[in-house]
């Protein structure tokens, strides 16, 4: 498995994500936002958390229009795998690879704590290491994690089994308690919680590990 982690000015979870990929057996290349292509043979692209471009204009908006994001869109268009975590999820919605948008938390406060997530589907390369209905504990750390999409889009996501994770106790006002969603081909995942921060015993929890291990399983046989 060869993973590329994209680094924007203001990314701050890029190294954590690389470590989580490496721990799952991946070779990792760090890719700068001004780069115009991915290294050869990349199986999965990770868009990390942080505050790309200082969250100026809207979270993820400037990053979504950076040169490297054209390669991300091309990769996804060819059926490649992409995971966007936290700010990475915001970037993926701004690029249009995932529907909806992340609004300011309903309580207006930045929230940094571990939350319960319900795995809504195990039918994806990211979640097949879990059982649907499992509740896992994963940290969140965001100011703009309030998932919003119109009624039609929410119904579509639910109808197509594309809601990957929901909050057991909604911290931010997200519609339908949505914490993470999948693309139509199920190969692009965006999620606000940080599985890479629950991937090592030293983190105080390892519930995120199964996500990275499942990817290795899928991508080593691809």
């Amino acid at each position: 498995m060869h993973a590329a982690v994209v680094v924007f000015p203001g990314s701050n979870c890029d190294r954590d994500l690389a470590v989580a990929f490496e721990a799952a057996g991946a070779r990792v290349s760090m890719v700068w936002h001004k780069d115009t292509s991915m290294p050869d043979g990349v199986d999965i692209i990770g868009i990390p958390g942080g505050f790309s471009f200082g969250d100026y204009l809207r979270c993820g908006a400037i990053a979504a229009n950076s040169p490297i994001c054209r390669s991300v869109a091309d990769h996804a268009g060819r059926g490649g795998y992409v995971i966007g975590i936290c700010n990475g999820f915001q970037v993926l919605t701004e690029t249009g690879l995932l529907p909806g948008v992340l609004l300011r938390n309903a309580g207006l406060k930045y929230i940094c704590r571990t939350v319960g997530l319900r795995v809504e589907t195990s039918a994806s390369p990211f979640t097949e290491g879990y059982n649907a209905g499992d509740v896992i504990n994963v940290p969140i750390a965001h100011h703009d994690g309030n998932y919003y999409a119109d009624d039609e889009t929410i119904a579509l996501l639910q109808g197509e089994d594309r809601v990957a994770f929901t909050y057991t106790d909604n911290p931010n006002g997200a519609r339908a308690d949505i914490a993470g969603i999948l693309s139509e081909n199920r190969r692009v995942l965006g999620m606000m919680p940080h599985p890479e921060r629950a991937a090592d015993a030293g983190h105080g929890g390892t519930d995120g590990q199964a996500l990275f291990r499942a990817l290795r399983g899928v991508l080593s046989t691809a």
Binding site: L57, N65, T93, E94, L103, A106, L108, Y148
Partner: protein, 76 residues
């Protein structure tokens, strides 16, 4: 030439920041504020010959997220 772009959350999209401002106005004793919606004004200093269509394209591509925001353009 200049353009002024107003970006507002669409009706129906909850605006928690506007709500917080409304509460703060009430706490200051300003009664009678039934609602507050907060948006953005973006001023563009443009080369001569830039058309309103160009500015509209900028709004569609970057300045507004049309999933949740509406925009209007004033050229001057």
């Amino acid at each position: 030439m200049k353009a002024r772009v107003h970006v507002m959350l669409k009706n129906g999209v909850l605006d928690p920041q506007g709500e917080a401002v409304r509460h703060a106005l009430g706490a200051l004793g300003f009664d009678g504020v039934n609602g507050v919606r907060q948006g953005k004004v973006i001023e563009l200093d443009l080369a001569d010959g830039t058309s309103e269509d160009d500015v509209t394209a900028m709004c569609e591509k970057l300045l507004a997220n049309t999933v949740i925001e509406s925009y209007s353009v004033e050229m001057s």
